[in-house]
């Protein structure tokens, strides 16, 4: 699991890469929050295009970042979600707290 983090006070993007489970969610959370709290962006964008696996630990990771960004009324989007992970996100009702965009299916 790795992440590239970039942005400014308008928009911060996190490109997640690899597998998100309980084992590695903690490390990635600390890295995101370091930049998140420094930038206080209006929009946090989590890009899932390179994520190969996610269980409910990933839901915890997303909901936790939503709580943080809410403290300055920021918005959250979760983009390029692979089909296998959109099922877990729907189950958690994430669409109530974030804009979710699934990955375009390659035919």
């Amino acid at each position: 699991m790795s992440a590239i983090i970039d942005g400014n006070s308008e928009r911060m993007t996190v490109w997640l890469d690899g597998e998100i489970d309980h084992h590695n969610a903690g490390g990635i959370r600390v890295r995101i929050d370091e930049t998140l709290i420094r930038l206080r962006p209006k929009l946090l964008s989590l890009d899932f295009s390179a994520v190969t696996f996610m269980d409910s630990s990933g839901i915890g990771l997303i909901m936790g970042r939503y709580k943080n960004i809410q403290s300055w009324s920021g918005k959250l989007e979760v983009i390029n979600v692979p089909r296998s992970m959109s099922k877990v996100m729907r189950l958690a009702g994430l669409e109530r707290i974030a804009t979710i965009r699934n990955m375009e299916e390659i035919k």
Partner: protein, 146 residues
């Protein structure tokens, strides 16, 4: 009914083993020629069950997690994930979506994910003795000409 093929695996309740456990079960099930979605469902459900053992059953120590997977006729699989940890006081409450005894970054969705990603789940638990989670799923697999 007897399993036509089975495997057993014992692992330490270390979080680094979460990915090993889900990959081991999915690799074993691969002989049924499942779809990518079916494999993903199994991996996710196993990951939730094993994480529960690590986080809840053995919160302050490292114990053993016993995983068994059996393949039955017509593509049916059964997975048992067992620990000898602290046990669950109230199983019904533990299985409620969004309920978590830990709070923080745990979403409280582990059992909800297991329920919706498999066909059947049964949970046996005794406080101080441990917990066994039994999952069942029928693999329909890919069509022969796929």
């Amino acid at each position: 009914m007897k399993a036509t093929n089975e495997f057993r695996l014992t692992i330490d309740s270390r979080s680094v083993n979460e990915s090993f456990a889900r990959v081991a079960v999915s690799a074993f099930v691969a002989q049924l020629d499942p779809t990518i979605d079916e494999l993903g469902d199994i991996k996710t459900a196993v990951s939730e069950a094993v994480t529960n053992c690590i986080v809840h059953a053995y919160p302050d120590s490292v114990g053993k997690i016993y995983i068994w997977t059996g393949i039955y006729e017509n593509g049916k699989i059964k997975i048992k994930i067992k620990d000898r940890g602290c046990g669950i006081i109230d199983i019904r409450q533990a299985m409620e979506p969004l309920f978590s005894t830990l709070g923080g970054e745990r979403a409280g969705l582990g059992f909800a994910v297991m329920e919706s990603f498999t066909d059947k789940i049964r949970v046996y638990s005794k406080v101080g003795k441990g917990t066994t989670v039994c999952l069942e799923k029928t693999i329909t697999g890919r069509p022969a000409d796929d």
